[in-house]
């Protein structure tokens, strides 16, 4: 009786079962890892895009600022501000300007003479 029962019962092959469990678990983990890594890839892609956008934004702001600096410091802008009185520049007083006198003239009337323009009339303070 016992002998026939033993013959009819299936014995569980522990080693085989363990092997299958390990393989299944490995496959499941591999699948999960694949899904996780794929999601990470997308996530990092999104982050990369966000960083790129941020970089573009910063570069745009930088270019805008550079443009404003160029516009505000341009010669034309400064001259305009000077005319409008936003910039105060004190004119050099007459006594501080080096004036060159008319050179001594040759007595010979026919000689070529370097001439000097009449000096401009400066308003002295």
């Amino acid at each position: 009786m016992n002998r026939s029962r033993r013959r009819n019962c299936n014995t569980v092959n522990a080693a085989s079962l363990a092997r299958w469990i390990v393989m299944t678990a490995f496959l499941a983990l591999a699948g999960l890892a694949y899904v996780y890594l794929t999601l990470q890839l997308y996530h990092l892609g999104e982050r990369r895009k966000a960083v790129e956008n941020e970089l573009v934004k910063l570069r745009t702001q930088n270019d805008e600022a550079a443009g404003q600096i160029a516009a505000l410091t341009s010669r034309t802008a400064l001259q305009r501000q000077l005319k409008q009185g936003y910039l105060k520049m004190i004119p050099v007083s007459d006594s501080k300007i080096v004036r060159l006198t008319i050179p001594a003239r040759s007595t010979d009337e026919e000689a070529i003479q370097p001439v000097v323009n009449p000096l401009p009339q400066h308003e002295s303070k």
């Binding site: 892609g45 805008e64 010669r75 501080k96 004036r99 001439v115 323009n117």
Partner: protein, 604 residues
């Protein structure tokens, strides 16, 4: 299992095998045979080539002051196939971009995949629209990074800088001539988008980075340009000429230090400018140079050793009938030396100078001075001028050409010819590009002076220079062109204006002055040309009286700006009062304004 059952089973199996075989074949057909075609179709739908725009290079002056740069803007575009809510999208665009609803609605209803809604949208406005679209979950509107060209100095140096068109391609000036360097190279990136039009970053394909345009440095100094612009504006106000040009050029290198023309226009408002305002008169306008051309006749006669500077020529007492036509001088001159012919600007004397060497030789010298061909400056649209060959000359041409009639030259050609005299007879190509650098400062290309030829010997150039000093003297025609403290050399020109329909316009003149300073070691050549200046009295409309004083003012300010030392003889004549140098400790306590090295006691 009975036979009929087995048969049925076989039939069902065969049917399944057949069915799956068909599916398999179809699958192979689609996946393998038609792969490229369908992959292409899929790519067309999802994969796009995204252009990475290169930034146009800046234009800077000799001291790295910015003349042209870019400001970022955005272009708002739409893909009509991606639109989720047409009405709401139109409403958002209308509110944020101020574009008419009907216009946008019509554009979006076209069903096209690329519709430009508005260009040059400021980043702040674009961001506001982007936020609004996100909040309303509206799809189909995209933003493209773009840039607009800005010229911080407005109208200053407008003809030299030029401008760009709608597609950022140079149209005029340096923008056009240096297009190859300024434009840069766009990059690209293949991207895939999902149904919402959002990029799927991991699926990015091939990518090539953009290369920004190079920076172009001009030889023009904005400080000098500012002086020239102020003086040309003053001249326009005072004389109301039809056109005016001032050029400053370094004779040894051919570098253009300043170049201004009137009428002009604001580069930032170029769409409002008229064609007449956009012409760079210095290189595209032809004029009869008048007496300034006498330097060519005198130089050629002296260089051929037919005459010496002191050789006397009879100037026919002011009236000479030659070839059946009368040639006049503005005053009755008897015998004049070659020097005096230039100083007093005798037409008859100049004609006799040219006749001393003959038609062919004189023509060769005219060409050797660079007339009749482009100077080669890096600006677009330059003309050759008109110098007819001797075969086509009339009998009186040899008497008229030396006084600057029957020839057409550009102001730049005239300035270059005078630079040749100032540069010991060497003709140097004028240039306006100093260098080209990459954005990291590395030099890509650097301009160097190009000596085209030795036109006249250094001795002849020196002799002409000496004679030209006399022009700016009490006895010359341009006493008003003198600059305090400096000896200058120059020549005046007063030419009757040519009528486009033939002949000359009575009472209309092109007055000019071209000279250099200091005469013994020239730092710059200056040319002033006023076309149809209006003076209070007609007899005042002469080069020496109109263009001469303008040159004087420009040259005086330029000499001060360039910190040129006054002429030694003149300097010696000034009573110099030495200022005791304080010790370093005292110097710190002193007010800087008190430090004056030279003072003139007579002016106190």
């Amino acid at each position: 299992m009975n036979p009929s059952s087995r048969t049925r089973c076989t039939l069902v199996c065969a049917a399944f095998i057949g069915l799956f075989s068909i599916f398999s074949f179809r699958l192979i057909y689609l996946q393998a045979i038609k792969h490229d075609e369908y992959a292409g179709l899929a790519a067309e739908t999802h994969v796009h080539q995204q252009v990475i725009h290169a930034e146009r290079g800046m234009i800077l002056d000799a001291n790295k002051e910015v003349l042209a740069h870019n400001i970022p803007v955005e272009t708002v575009v739409a893909d009509a196939t991606h639109l989720s809510d047409l009405h709401a999208t139109v409403e958002a665009l209308n509110t944020e971009l101020d574009v008419p609803s009907e216009e946008v609605s019509e554009k979006l209803s076209s069903g096209r995949r690329y519709i430009v809604i508005k260009r040059e949208v400021a980043p702040a406005r674009a961001n506001a629209l982007r936020q609004k679209l996100q909040d309303s979950k509206l799809r189909g509107i995209y933003f493209e990074h773009d840039a607009t060209r800005i010229y911080p100095n407005g109208a200053m140096l407008c003809h030299v800088i030029g401008f760009t068109d709608f597609d950022h391609h140079g149209v005029q000036g340096v923008e056009a001539s240096m297009e190859e360097y300024l434009h840069g190279q766009d990059g690209y990136r293949f991207i895939e988008q999902n149904r919402a039009g959002k990029e799927i970053v991991p699926y990015r394909g091939q990518e090539r980075a953009s290369r920004d345009g190079y920076q172009v440095h001009l030889t023009v100094d904005l400080g000098l340009q500012s002086i020239v612009e102020d003086e040309i504006d003053a001249a326009m106000k005072e004389y109301s000429p039809q056109k005016a040009t001032i050029i400053l050029m370094r004779p040894q290198t051919g570098e253009i230090m300043a170049m201004a023309n009137r009428p002009n226009f604001d580069l930032n408002l170029r769409s409002e400018a008229k064609p007449e305002q956009m012409k760079n008169r210095a290189i595209i306008d032809m004029m009869e140079p008048g007496s300034t051309f006498k330097i060519v006749a005198a130089a050629s006669a002296l260089n051929e050793r037919k005459l010496r500077l002191d050789s006397q020529l009879f100037c026919e007492n002011g009236l000479w009938n030659y070839g059946g036509s009368a040639l006049h001088d503005h005053r009755a001159f008897g015998y004049l030396s070659v020097r005096d012919i230039l100083i007093k600007s005798s037409n008859i004397g100049a004609a006799k100078l040219a006749m001393s060497i003959g038609d062919q030789k004189f023509y060769e010298y005219i060409r050797r001075f660079g007339f009749g061909e482009r100077t080669g400056i890096e600006l677009p649209g330059e003309i050759n001028g008109v110098i007819r060959p001797p075969q086509t000359w009339s009998k009186i041409s040899i008497t008229r050409i030396p006084m600057g009639h029957e020839v057409g030259v550009t102001p730049l050609q005239m300035a270059t010819a005078m630079a040749t005299i100032a540069n010991s007879g060497k003709l140097v190509t004028p240039r306006i590009i100093k260098s080209v650098t990459a954005s990291d400062g590395k030099t890509v290309s650097s301009g160097s002076p190009v000596v085209l030829r030795q036109v006249i010997s250094p001795e002849t150039a020196k002799q002409i220079g000496e004679a030209l000093r006399g022009v700016v003297s009490d006895q010359g025609t341009a006493a008003a062109a003198a600059v305090p403290g400096f000896i200058i050399a120059g020549k005046t020109g007063t030419a009757q204006k040519v009528n486009p329909h033939g002949g000359y316009d009575h009472g209309k003149y092109v007055v000019s002055f071209v000279g250099y300073l200091p005469a013994d070691h020239p730092e710059f050549v200056g040319l002033v040309v006023l076309d149809d200046a209006h003076t209070s009295k007609p007899e005042l409309n002469y080069g020496g009286l109109v263009a001469g004083p303008i040159f004087s003012r420009v040259a005086e300010k330029a000499a001060r700006y360039l910190d040129l030392e006054p002429h030694e003889e003149i300097r010696k004549a000034i009573p110099v009062q030495r200022v005791e140098k304080p010790k370093p400790a005292e110097r710190l306590r002193k007010v800087p304004a008190e430090r004056v090295a030279l003072t003139d006691g007579s002016r106190r």
